[in-house]
């Protein structure tokens, strides 16, 4: 989780990713941010988040995103 928070904070240092759960709904993350995050996640966690997984419920909070990463790791 720490690694993920670091990735997110490097993009938007002004956001408290530990508590925010409206990252997409409040348009804090845009499509460019999402692509950067996916690319970083692929590097750090060695999992590929495919386009079909890019839905608000997976990206609205760091927690949801981390759950997705774990799910993909388990699948591997």
């Amino acid at each position: 989780m720490e690694e993920l928070l670091e990735i997110l904070s490097s993009l938007h240092p002004e956001v408290d990713f530990e508590t925010c759960d409206t990252l997409i709904d409040d348009k804090i993350l845009d499509s460019f941010d999402i692509v950067s995050i996916i690319s970083e996640i692929e590097d750090q966690f060695d999992v590929v988040i495919s386009a079909e997984k890019i839905v608000p419920q997976n990206f609205n909070s760091a927690e949801a995103l981390y759950a997705l990463i774990q799910e993909l790791e388990d699948e591997d």
Binding site: S31, S39, A51, I54
Partner: protein, 530 residues
């Protein structure tokens, strides 16, 4: 049958009466009949196209769904006797089969769109190349019908097929229901591009007559007519005069034409969507909003999140993301980072995917270089502003103006001007002429047209300008009120006499000030041609 024609009013009136008279469970069937009749009346040949798309999408989606069911059943039956790797391999095989079906559906339907929409564009380019090399031979243009709204219903159908493949929506096993989703007449001609998950529930549901819902729908339709007939069709005369007379109307006229067109396009397109949403609302059907006060945007990026929203999200979800996060692109991302460093390397894949999206957006709007350049112009502006982001941050750190009214106003005006400049490609005959006309704004100083009476020679009278100014003011006021909630909701809370005055007043305005009467030529909605 134009939305603003008497035929359309008669059509929806008859449909509306039948809709609430027949058993509620048959309502969606009536809508399907009405939709096909609407399309048939436009041209019988169009029905062949939409039927072909519906049949192919139906079979492809059902087959994809069937493979998904087979997979679930197989994995359930062999839960204990399959290793993790075997399960993974099996799932990959099934996904590949689904992918082939998806690809076939995409290629077939995009193929139809490409043939009817882009063949003559390709021929004109080939002829241009032949001429360039001195070859006297020229290919003949095809006499091929461009079915009304084909770009809209093709994208809507493909969105559904991709969603089925992704498992986002269930397969619609009833072919007639799927046919209605693809052909639903209010949104057939100019969108919005609805998602199956958003529209299907209310589209197929049974609806009892509810006076409040119907009234709200009618109010929305009236507001749409106001935008289209009172504003868009009135200012259209001025836009046409300036654009068609490009030899005569240079310099400040070009600027004026840009501003006129910005207003016309907004009133025309959002007015059409208001009618679409309103018609659906009178029948209890909810269509997703396509605009969110786009001219209040503070950047082009924000503008594109608020203008033609359903198209923007379609391109993002089905083109931008799949390209940006596919394995080859992620590989390219690693490669570019190792070659060009973190900063540039990270951006390259995003910018490449974005390029593809804006190229597609441009060509989706029309088969001409004007639209391609317009699309890529948007891409350039968005990329440049993205690159300038750190500069803006430094500026804001130094000057605390971000939340100041005048700074926000500056940002809004800047966005409107930038968008209007780009839209010139939408107006002038070809790309070189567009650049030339843009240049005259800086070389031909005739700004006195704003006070020497020249404006009254553009086909618009003083009364027209008065009506347009009042209409524009009303649009701005309504948009400002909308920021804090539904305007119709606020009006509904007022006492009956106030409500009556507002809605009957608007009705009279449309009736008396709409641009029709002697010599009026019913004008097509701009987005119908896409």
């Amino acid at each position: 049958m134009l939305f603003t024609s008497y035929e359309f009013l008669a059509f929806i009136l008859i449909l509306f009466i039948l809709y609430y008279l027949i058993p509620a469970k048959a309502q969606w069937k009536l809508l399907l009949l009405a939709s096909y009749l609407f399309y048939f009346l436009a041209s019988p040949i169009y029905v062949v196209y939409i039927f072909t798309t519906t049949v192919t999408i139906y079979f492809a989606s059902c087959r994809i769904g069937k493979i998904g069911e087979e997979q679930s059943a197989y994995l359930k039956a062999h839960k204990s006797d399959l290793s993790k790797d075997e399960r993974k391999e099996y799932k990959a095989g099934m996904k590949k089969r689904q992918w082939h079906l998806l690809l076939a559906g995409l290629l077939f339907n995009l193929g139809i769109l490409a043939v009817v929409k882009y063949t003559n564009f390709a021929i004109s380019n080939i002829n241009g190349i032949l001429r360039l090399f001195g070859n006297p031979g020229q290919l003949d243009f095809w006499d091929i019908a461009l079915p009304m709204g084909i770009s809209f219903y093709t994208f809507q159908s493909l969105g559904y097929l991709i969603d089925v493949y992704r498992g986002v929506v269930p397969v619609e096993k009833n072919p007639f229901k799927l046919a209605l989703f693809i052909s639903f007449f209010p949104q057939l001609v100019q969108g919005p591009i609805s998602r199956f998950g958003d529209l299907s529930q209310s589209l197929f549901a049974e609806h009892r007559f509810q006076a409040e819902t119907v009234a709200r729908g009618l109010q929305r339709i009236l507001w749409g007519f106001f935008k289209k007939l009172v504003i868009a069709d009135r200012i259209l005369v001025g836009v046409n005069t300036i654009i068609r007379g490009s030899d005569q109307y240079t310099g400040a006229y070009v600027f004026l034409g840009m501003m006129f067109y910005a207003l016309e396009l907004y009133a025309d397109f959002t007015g059409g969507i208001d009618i679409t949403i309103g018609v659906a609302e009178t029948m209890g059907i909810t269509i997703k909003e396509n605009f969110q006060r786009p001219y209040f945007s503070k950047s082009i990026k924000e503008y594109w999140r608020r203008w033609h929203i359903t198209m923007g999200t379609w391109f993002t979800d089905y083109i931008f993301y799949p390209i940006s996060v596919c394995k080859p692109m992620l590989k390219f991302s690693r490669f570019s980072r190792s070659k060009f460093g973190e900063v540039v390397g990270k951006r390259l894949p995003v910018y490449l995917s974005s390029f593809a999206v804006w190229f597609a957006t441009g060509i989706w709007h029309g088969a001409s270089w004007n639209f391609i350049v317009w699309g890529l112009g948007n891409w350039v502006v968005i990329m440049v502003s993205q690159e300038m982001e750190p500069l803006y941050e430094r500026f804001h750190a130094r000057w605390n103006v971000r939340d100041r009214f005048f700074y926000r106003l500056f940002q809004v005006i800047r966005t409107i001007l930038l968008m209007s400049c780009l839209r010139m490609f939408d107006c002038y005959r070809d790309v070189p002429l567009t650049f030339k006309m843009f240049g005259t704004m800086f070389t031909h100083w005739n700004w006195n047209i704003f006070w020497n009476g020249a404006l009254l020679k553009l086909g618009l009278s003083a009364l027209d300008y008065g009506i347009l100014a009042a209409g524009l003011l009303l649009l701005i006021v309504v948009s400002l009120i909308q920021r804090s909630g539904s305007v119709r909701g606020r009006i509904a809370a007022k006492p009956y006499p106030v409500r009556f005055i507002i809605w009957f007043g608007l009705f009279l305005v449309v009736l008396l000030m709409g641009a029709y009467g002697i010599g009026y030529d019913e004008s097509q909605f701009i987005y119908n041609q896409f």
